[in-house]
Amino acid sequence: MLITRESITDYIPHRAPFIMVDSLISATEARFETEFCIEADNLLVSNGYFQETGLIENIAQTCAASFGYLAKEQAGEAKIGFIGAIGKLEVFELPPVGATVQTIVIPLHQLGNIYLVKGESFLEGRILLGCEMKIVVTE
């Protein structure tokens, strides 16, 4: 594990109660992976299930944590990223409260400060949601 829940805010600009990622498991230029435990008092839980918007935000924060980690590793400062666009969204299943979501993001293309990534979230090996996302990173 690269970043624990206790120090994740050193790498992402988000603050409670809108933190949708717990720990950064791995991050390379080619692949990011995080985990997130769904708690009952999460803002994006409804009727006992973490909603699609939460899973999308989880993918975005996986990018934020990973870009932040990689930037700090290169002796730079963590940069802030914004969701520019979301496409090819598919929702398969919503995770219940108490579940731990595994999220994997693969950067596909980069053009200047805009990244096109493919994000997928999983629960016990089953895919929950997948999408492509354009992330604009501050320069």
Binding site: G84, A85, L108, H109, L111, G112, I114, L116, K134, V136
Partner: protein, 88 residues
């Protein structure tokens, strides 16, 4: 099929490029002319350029960077860049 994989004529590359650009960006094929503005004709914003890069890589097998787009104003400029990258 990439232009680099088979021997395609320059005319075939241009016509193929017009085909996928008109389809993906939903513009009339006749609007894609060398003298017309790439950005205005395709109604590109900064995020759309990423889609354009992906399309070019998928259809022509060449990878463009942000630097490559600095000098591009018209489709004519764009074609010249593609020709240079494809070494045609």
């Amino acid at each position: 099929m990439y232009a680099n994989d088979v021997k395609m004529s320059w005319e075939e590359v241009i016509e193929g490029t017009r085909d996928f650009l008109s389809t993906e960006f939903e513009v009339d094929r006749s609007e894609i002319r060398p003298e017309n503005s790439l950005k205005d004709t395709l109604d590109l914003d900064s995020l759309d350029y990423v889609d354009l890069v992906v399309l070019i890589e998928e259809n022509l097998g060449i990878k463009l960077t942000g630097e490559d787009f600095r000098e591009i104003v018209t489709f004519g400029d764009f074609y010249q860049l593609v020709r240079k990258k494809l070494a045609l």
